[in-house]
Symmetry: C2
């Protein structure tokens, strides 16, 4: 069975050649209840029921699918993580009183009993932080009218981790920055960002390694600023990064177009002819091909977005498509076949 | 102008998947004349005239084109070297009294005033040492009836270098041995050959490096054996090497077919998509593609032989096709374009 794509992977929205997605996440907890890691089984079960009831009342407006995670298979849970609809933390064993509500377009997800009692997340394609914030705020208001949030005049929303105190808001964007990496400017740009409270992480890499030149850029603190200020600040910072990436792309096109076209061509050639491929290599080559597409250096059409193709490299995608678990070698073979078939547009 | 191919590059003949070509070369000198490196201008000019006259008398039978090398452009001279029709030594500056006679199929070449006064070479596709020897012997007899060869009862034919004394015969085969290299057996096989008087050289590499896994295997001494014995010995040795290469190919197909198919696919993908390519990389990838073709692992048809494609990587081929000298960068670009176009069968 081929997994379907989330709406945020469609590559639409402003600046979508560089901004793969925009995300807003709100952390909320119930008054008078211990945080999830300190709850008893009865407390967790009770809270899940209360929150579930409130979320289900939203359903008429949002067409939300509500699932207890202990009733979802491990590979489906991993698929949700790789679509960024739930956090890796939510699917760690043992899973007992956790749940997630997801809308049909997979733009909205509401996690229950993760680090906080409630996390509301909105994920949109391109640079749409403000739009995502408005959707999250509407859902938050609707739930707040049905639930008793833990809120303190001085600290704002109370959260399990102090870094989320205040607005409980984390805003982030997922950026494809191949030209900043190729021109060796990425480290310098990210150091400057750290000084203004912006965190940059590689998306799929261990530690600071950014596979596929994909970076997640987010606000570090949520205390002392309004939600609108946080969203506005990150939007401005993102626009600055986009400007730097565009400059770097223009420089490469002016100074090294032949070498760039060679790099893009080779990446396409390998992706459409290899028989075995690791995830790390696939993301590296897809980044090159995607950059080539953006700069009109790619001779073939690119029938899927970078976000969709990157999703196809993930083990849970491949195991879902295969219909059974795969050994590491079989997975590398399935990955090569899947990317090849999809890039050549042979089938969905 | 696209250079044409020599007959030996056609990939016909026995064992042609492994034996690119078979070569016989006879060294002959005229009695009572100094060797070429000791001749005066007058002596060299006179000898060139005498030998030319004898060679031209062969023309009715052989359709031989006779050229003084000082009347051939440097790029054309280099093209003759890369077709293996003349030795690199023959085209070294200054060129004054040297000449070469070549038949229409470019199987026969007769060099005048190289290291020896006369070198008769016959080059055929596949394993055809005996056939090549018979052609060379016929030409040798025809010339000997018109010229006064330096011959000594004890030493045989007198030659400028002692290693050519005796029969003056050098037999060699050009072999494509990718599986022996991949399975790391090549060094061991070549060491064993050295012990029975067989020399192995990389064809296009510096020193012992064999670009494209192409090796030239030849007899080391020509004294103390008859011509027939030399030709027979090298044929037997070549058949043994072929057997080892076939075993190694079978082993790879049985034990590592997926990895081999991956290697072949990637080589094809890069060759048909790169925009810049060095000669060393091109030969390495062409070797992989050629092996893939031999083992039916290549999905696309291979419209040219390995020998033809290897010839296309050479600077003189590319400069002839371009019609003007090329910088190193332009050559790497022209090489990538040329190989791509020919592999995709877009044109001759």
């Amino acid at each position: 069975m081929t997994p379907h794509f989330s709406q945020w992977m469609t590559g639409s929205g402003p600046e979508a050649d560089i901004v793969l997605s925009s995300r807003i996440r709100l952390a909320r907890n119930m008054a008078g209840q211990p945080f999830p890691h300190r709850m008893t089984a009865e407390q967790a079960e009770r809270l899940l029921e209360d929150v579930s009831a409130a979320v289900k009342e939203l359903q008429s407006g949002w067409q939300i699918d509500f699932r207890r995670l202990d009733q979802v298979t491990p590979v489906e849970r991993q698929l949700l993580v790789e679509k960024h609809l739930v956090s890796p933390l939510l699917v760690q064993e043992p899973i007992r009183y956790q749940a997630v509500a997801i809308d049909q377009r997979e733009s909205i997800s509401i996690m229950v009993n993760e680090e906080d009692h409630l996390r509301i997340q909105v994920l949109l394609p391109g640079l749409q932080l403000d739009e995502a914030w408005k959707v999250a705020d509407t859902i938050d208001d609707a739930l707040e009218s049905r639930l008793d949030y833990a809120y303190d005049e001085q600290s704002g929303y109370l959260t399990a981790w102090p870094t989320n105190l205040g607005t409980g808001l984390r805003a982030s964007v997922m950026l494809h920055l191949p030209a900043l990496v190729l021109t060796r400017q990425a480290a310098q740009v990210f150091t400057a960002l750290a000084q203004v409270g912006i965190v940059v992480r590689g998306l799929y890499g261990e530690g600071s390694e950014a596979l596929g030149n994909i970076f997640q850029v987010s606000n570090q603190v949520s205390l002392g600023l309004t939600e609108e200020e946080i969203v506005h600040n990150l939007t401005v910072v993102t626009q600055q990064i986009i400007g730097r990436e565009r400059q770097a792309r223009a420089h490469l096109m002016a100074a090294e177009q032949l070498l760039l076209a060679d790099r893009v061509g080779r990446a396409w050639g390998i992706l459409t002819n290899a028989k075995v491929m690791t995830s790390a290599e696939a993301l590296r080559l897809l980044s090159d091909v995607s950059l080539g597409h953006d700069l009109s250096l790619l001779e073939a059409p690119m029938p899927f977005t970078f976000a969709q193709l990157a999703f196809m490299t993930r083990p849970s995608y491949l195991e879902t498509e295969a219909g059974h678990p795969l050994s590491a070698v079989d997975r590398d073979q399935m990955r090569a076949e899947t990317l090849r078939r999809h890039l050549l547009g042979k089938t969905l």
